[in-house]
């Protein structure tokens, strides 16, 4: 079994994670990508609050494939999206929201990696394209926020079990697997 992370996490726990280590997550994660990042930053800049407190939390770069049934929403496929698309917003997003873990694919730029280390946030790499494997770890859709952004861009608040395997790709000590 991989090391389990159970959010919310404090700085100490995050700093113990080392590049190359394999972990999985059990607990709450929240999806966010392009439009959600932009809206979150805009709200926090103007002193407003997010609809959910994600301090110490895990943000998952993902735009899931979903289906609405009579029983409610279902995520059919939900692998990671390219994190670097969000690079221009990454540091400010992490600083303002206080999240401790980003999960995505492809990594972040060298500059952003440095910022993440300064802010005490780690980047975990999930295998791209493993949508069905990822969806299988979702035990419950707890909330669907900012639905007006569309199902792909909305915030999906998920309860996951053994979400992963995830590779610590950028750690809080400045380690970066993409730079080897």
């Amino acid at each position: 079994m991989h090391k389990q992370l159970k959010p919310p996490l404090d700085e100490e726990q995050v700093k113990n994670l080392k590049v190359g280590e394999v972990v999985s997550i059990t607990g709450q994660i929240v999806t966010a990508r392009d439009k959600a990042y932009a809206r979150a930053i805009e709200l926090l800049r103007s002193g407003k609050k997010l609809p959910i407190d994600i301090r110490g939390g895990v943000v998952y770069h993902c735009g899931p494939l979903t289906k609405k049934t009579k029983k409610g929403w279902q995520i059919l496929s939900g692998g990671p999206t390219t994190s670097a698309r969000l690079d221009s917003m990454q540091a400010e997003f992490v600083e303002r929201t206080g999240v401790r873990v980003l999960v995505g694919k492809g990594g972040v730029s060298e500059d952003v990696a440095g910022e993440l280390a300064r802010l005490g946030c780690v980047y975990l790499a999930f295998t791209g394209g493993v949508g069905v494997l990822a969806a299988g770890t979702i035990k419950k859709i707890q909330k669907l926020l900012w639905q007006d952004l569309g199902a792909t861009e909305a915030l999906w608040v998920l309860r996951v079990q053994d979400f992963g395997p995830l590779v610590v790709a950028v750690d809080a000590q400045g380690g970066n697997l993409y730079l080897r």
Binding site: S77, G106, T127, G129
Partner: protein, 288 residues
């Protein structure tokens, strides 16, 4: 005569199969590459990919949440009589498949970014129509996610610069780094004109893995590029390892004496493709 309903159903079925299963040649190469890796992180990436493929097949669910945009290559016989507009029916089929499979709604207006919600729109789906002799009707389908497509490049190189093609391809693979879902299939279009090189690069992705170009110099170029790319060490998902590409496919066309267009198009490891062809008055669908 082929009915519109038969044609439409076949296209929906082709999309469903392409979204939920990978061609055998791709699965075989993924397995082979996994065996070659020595580092735990690289092996883990392949394990996740292969496990995901099993789950997708078992559950009939799309392999990746980015169900991509469909690119259709249609060969249409000049003597074939149809009592419907096949282009309009392709559009209809994509709309239907979006609901029935379902597919993620990926098509937006390029400026307003408003999503059409149906996976069709102005100029979408993309259809490359080729008129051929006789009564043939064949459709080859590629599903293209944005992660790979976003690294497409077109270079207009100097014709007599020794290894310009190799440098352009390797530079692009290096720049893309771990951002497309590696290991990728790299399609390279050499010659033609600017837009033809792009089309050749994309068409190159239709060719099954393990089948080198029949032209010897091109086959040699493919082999050299594959080895050099895998020597970069970028590895599965950019996390380091021996496999950066599953293969490099090069296609060429004659070009202007003063030009050397070179286009590059990536396909992610989830290299989804399928085909359908007219047999009698029915469409036969297959994932090769």
């Amino acid at each position: 005569m082929l009915s519109e309903a038969e044609f439409c159903d076949a296209v929906v079925e082709m999309l469903r199969r392409a979204e939920t299963t990978l061609p055998k040649d791709v699965v075989e190469v993924l397995k082979k590459c996994k065996r070659r890796e020595r580092e735990q992180v690289a092996i883990l990436q392949f394990e996740c990919m292969l496990k995901n493929l099993e789950l997708a097949k078992k559950l009939g669910a799309p392999i990746c949440q980015d169900t991509g945009i469909p690119i259709f290559f249609m060969e249409l016989g000049a003597d074939l009589k149809l009592d419907f507009d096949p282009l309009a029916t392709l559009k209809k089929a994509v709309k239907k498949a979006t609901i029935s499979i379902p597919l993620r709604a990926n098509i937006v207006d390029p400026l307003s970014r408003v999503n059409t919600g149906t996976n069709v729109g102005e100029g979408q789906p993309v259809v490359h129509l080729e008129l051929v002799r006789g009564k043939k009707l064949q459709i080859d389908l590629l599903l293209k996610g944005a992660g790979a497509e976003n690294w497409s490049r077109l270079y207009m190189l100097k014709p007599f610069d020794g290894e310009a093609i190799e440098r352009a391809v390797l530079l692009t693979i290096g720049e893309a780094g771990g951002q497309p879902c590696l290991p990728t299939i790299v399609g390279v279009g050499v010659g033609g004109s600017a837009e033809m090189a792009c089309l050749l690069a994309k068409k190159a992705l239709l060719r099954p893995l393990g089948k080198p170009n029949k032209n010897r110099p091109l086959a040699g170029l493919e082999l050299r590029l594959t080895r050099a790319a895998n020597g970069l060490g970028i590895g599965p998902m950019g996390l380091g390892g021996k496999t950066t590409v599953l293969g490099v496919h090069v296609e060429k066309a004659a070009c202007h004496t003063a030009s050397l267009p070179v286009a590059i198009n990536f396909q992610c490891w989830a290299a989804r493709r399928a085909s359908a062809k007219l047999v009698g008055n029915r469409m036969r669908v297959e994932v090769p």
